[in-house]
């Protein structure tokens, strides 16, 4: 087993026992990124020199007796998190030269916990996409089969973790952007309860849905990251006063006696039969660990995608109004007056998918349509939340597939936005309700592509989700499988 095959918790033990140093670890991962990533394009910006400075500091701190939880562990951030002094593009031409003057709270908290930052990870432009193909910096490839997409929008994070380029990464999830790429790349990813992880410094897409979370190789590793990431932040007005938690400490909670709901709506037409089979096998496994399986109903899941494509673009069109070519970001050289400066800078700076969402958002918010679309969608959002409330009165968790299909081929859906949107049919309702959900690897297709199952919990059940994920991973080895990197390199 090579150094990069260890997960975060293992590497932490090796560092604590002083069997390796942070400098060795950082050097090893930087070297691996340089030799493997040209075929995956999971990184947009490397933090090479600075990472080594941080690693040296971590080793000194350990020698001085520091016991910071994540001291010397290398990670990478999705390029949506503002990093002081380090370019932050959000996958867009608009921010090609943007150097944030401050750190996102997530960046600050993980740095305070002792992590070393290897670089910034590729993503769909402004987190709008499910395949990573909307990135201005090139599409990321799936490490299990480089003809396939890694999913999105946190596709760079998922591909880098799956390819062992970094032991863990951050992601963000507005409609499935942590869970769907985690499923496509065979890693573990948590979308926390809305308000548990600060959004300060995370470039906004749809503020009522956006939530940052960990992406790693196991539930145990995700819990380690959550210990550091979660917590109340007065700089984010939607941060929850009780956001903090003891995620690692709660991992040993037994599965025995838990009531786990299965919604047949998640196994309807359009679900790949191989995924259905593997997820049902995983449910049987949870049952054999002592859970009781209970049928539940989520009747409004069928319209979740429709409500989402009103609300998310509406919020995005407002959030992205700040990009005007004046204060930061791309500025057109082809404008004679202020109006043209705005219009040209935005046309040149934004890619086709971002422009589409801004147009849809502006349309549904425009005079005469607001009630029919925006208010209607907010009401449907209430109904979706009610579905979950009713279900969680009967069960502790709900389980189902994370995605209707395994990873699809590059370019398969780029000309048909709606077919791309439907890739998130099982993940979107969770964001609309604000509840937490976890992707766990639970098998492979005959073609060798990863399959993910999704565990959904009630508000603040993040710890429970990770504990059940940990128990499942103690009993199975799907999360330990790794892509054949010799082939990737060839």
């Amino acid at each position: 087993m090579e150094l990069h095959d260890h997960g975060l918790a293992d590497l932490r033990r090796l560092l604590q026992k002083k069997e390796i140093s942070a400098v060795e670890l950082t050097t090893h991962f930087l070297q691996r990124i340089r030799s493997v990533d040209p075929q995956l394009r999971s990184f947009i910006t490397l933090n090479g020199e600075n990472a080594l400075v941080q690693a040296h500091r971590a080793d000194r701190q350990r020698a001085d007796g520091s016991t910071q939880a994540l001291l010397g562990l290398p990670i990478a951030h999705k390029d949506i998190f503002s990093t002081r002094g380090l370019r932050t593009t959000c996958g867009s031409r608009m921010l090609e030269n943007y150097i944030p003057p401050f750190d996102a709270t997530v960046v600050e908290r993980l740095e305070q916990a002792g992590t070393v930052l290897l670089g910034k990870l590729n993503m769909d432009e402004f987190a709008m996409g499910s395949s990573n193909e909307t990135s201005h910096y090139g599409a990321v490839r799936n490490p299990w089969d480089t003809r396939m997409v890694p999913g999105g929008s946190s596709g760079g994070s998922a591909a880098a973790v799956a390819a062992r380029l970094v032991p863990a990464a951050t992601g963000t999830d507005t409609g499935g952007s942590i869970r769907q790429p985690a499923a496509f790349c065979g890693i573990t990813g948590l979308k926390p309860t809305y308000g548990r992880v600060s959004r300060y410094g995370m470039i906004a897409f749809a503020s009522s849905l956006d939530q940052a979370g960990p992406m790693a190789r196991s539930a145990e590793d995700c819990a380690l990251l959550m210990d550091a990431m979660a917590g109340h932040d007065p700089r984010d007005s939607t941060s929850h006063p009780q956001a903090a938690g003891q995620f690692s400490a709660a991992l040993d909670r037994p599965v025995r006696g838990l009531r786990i709901g299965v919604a047949e709506e998640f196994f309807a037409d359009g679900l790949d039969p191989q995924i259905a089979e593997q997820v049902r096998a995983a449910i049987a496994q949870l049952e054999s660990l002592g859970a009781r399986i209970v049928p539940v109903h989520l009747p409004h899941n069928a319209v979740a995608v429709s409500a989402y494509y009103v609300l998310a673009p509406a919020e995005a069109s407002s959030n992205l109004a700040r990009f005007d070519g004046v204060r930061y970001g791309h500025r057109s050289q082809h404008a004679d007056n202020l109006q043209e400066l705005y219009q040209q800078s935005r046309f040149e700076g934004f890619g086709a998918e971002v422009r589409r969402r801004i147009l849809i958002g502006s349309y549904v918010l425009s005079a005469g349509y607001y009630d029919a679309y925006y208010l209607k969608a907010q009401k449907v959002r209430s109904l979706i939340r009610e579905d979950f409330r009713r279900a969680f009165a009967e069960v502790d968790l709900i389980v189902g597939p994370t995605t209707p299909t395994p990873a699809f081929a590059l370019d398969a859906k780029t000309e048909d936005p709606v077919s791309m949107y439907l890739a998130d049919i099982y993940t979107i309702a969770v964001n609309l309700a604000g509840i937490p959900a976890l992707n766990l690897p639970c098998g492979f297709t005959r073609e060798g592509l990863p399959i993910g199952m999704q565990l959904m919990g009630n508000y603040f059940a993040d710890e429970l989700l990770l504990a059940v994920g940990h128990a499942y991973q103690q009993a199975t080895s799907w999360h330990l499988q790794r892509p054949d990197l010799a082939e990737v390199q060839g």
Partner: protein, 97 residues
Amino acid sequence: MSFTTDTVKRTASLARLALPEADLAHVAQQLEGILVLIEKLSAVPTEGVEIMAHPLELQQPLREDRADGRDLAGRDIYLKNAPVSADGLFLVPKVIE
């Protein structure tokens, strides 16, 4: 079809987004497809349903209306990212002749 090229033009103008004339028909067709997807909402009965303003029904916290230290970190830092600036100000094309 609700999304004509005129609708696209009007919406793009509201969004301060230039779109080349040649792209309008294609964009209209794609937006129409999205509109068909979101129109499914009209079939959902929502009489008497309240809108959902916040997942956890929290009130928006308020703080004193005063700049904190972070906001005052210095305009030079913020101007560094400005495409064009001079004398501590953001520059835009001339608005008044």
